[in-house]
């Protein structure tokens, strides 16, 4: 489930990146992060499949729920990293503008 959720996040972020108007949102970071994690989990899944064989495709409900929560948490963490980086690099200068405007009014 973690692999599946991360792959969906990677594909969605790639589609959004492809349809972007400019590069100011720095979406490249997000999609590389998700694709990197997807590839790594794919390898993990292959090794697990080699060990468990067909059993790999019939996980216990509890494990599936745990894995789904993990997948969603991973997607959320990726988004948080991206948004923090976006605010720090501030490509549109909006954070700087807001901060300097707040300083001027004081």
């Amino acid at each position: 489930m973690t692999l599946l959720i991360t792959v969906f996040a990677a594909v969605i972020s790639t589609v959004i990146w492809y349809n972007r108007k400019d590069d100011s949102m720095k979406l490249g970071i997000l999609l590389f992060m998700y694709w990197g994690a997807s590839i790594m989990w794919l390898v993990d899944a292959i090794f697990e499949y080699a060990e468990l064989k067909a059993e790999y495709f019939t996980p216990a409900l509890e494990d599936m729920i745990n894995d789904s929560f993990l997948g969603l948490s991973v997607v959320a963490l990726g988004l948080v990293i991206w948004v923090v980086r976006l605010l720090i690099t501030d490509p549109k200068g909006k954070v700087r503008k807001t901060l300097t405007a707040a300083g001027e009014t004081r």
Partner: protein, 132 residues
């Protein structure tokens, strides 16, 4: 157990190479102009893609290990380091799963680089054909 460390280590090496390459390219552009840069994607940019994939993957996988209680915020940070048997298992996992992860990401990146160069070249050829 700690397979993400292999990709993390590769990311550090790639970042160092990327910075060195970036400096070299800047010197090259200053010396002979940016004529070749239009036809090819610069190597430093391609290395940045690899670095982002490796770092992003390693960070998200590290989170998974924290989730499963394999990484802890106190020394020695990896629970597998508590006894020799677990440490040996961890090193075996790093040598198999960890290396396979790093290798597959690098292989995918090589494919991306080849495709990117082909797309850029195709764009240049189409522009030249339109001009004629």
């Amino acid at each position: 157990m700690a397979c993400f460390l292999v990709s993390g280590a590769e990311a550090l090496v790639v970042k160092a190479v990327e910075k060195a390459e970036e400096k070299k390219e800047l010197k090259g552009v200053a010396a002979d102009g940016a004529s070749d840069a239009v036809k090819r994607v610069p190597l430093s940019r391609k290395l940045k893609w690899l670095c982002n994939m490796l770092t992003g993957g390693a960070v998200l996988l590290a989170f998974e290990h924290i989730w499963h209680g394999e990484v802890v915020p106190w020394f020695p940070f990896l629970t597998a380091m508590y006894n020799a048997e677990d440490t040996a298992e961890m090193l075996h996992e790093m040598a198999t799963v960890g290396v396979a992860m790093a290798v597959l990401i690098t292989v995918v990146w090589i494919g991306m680089c080849v495709a990117a160069d082909a797309i850029v070249k195709r764009g240049v050829t189409e522009t030249q054909a339109e001009e004629v």
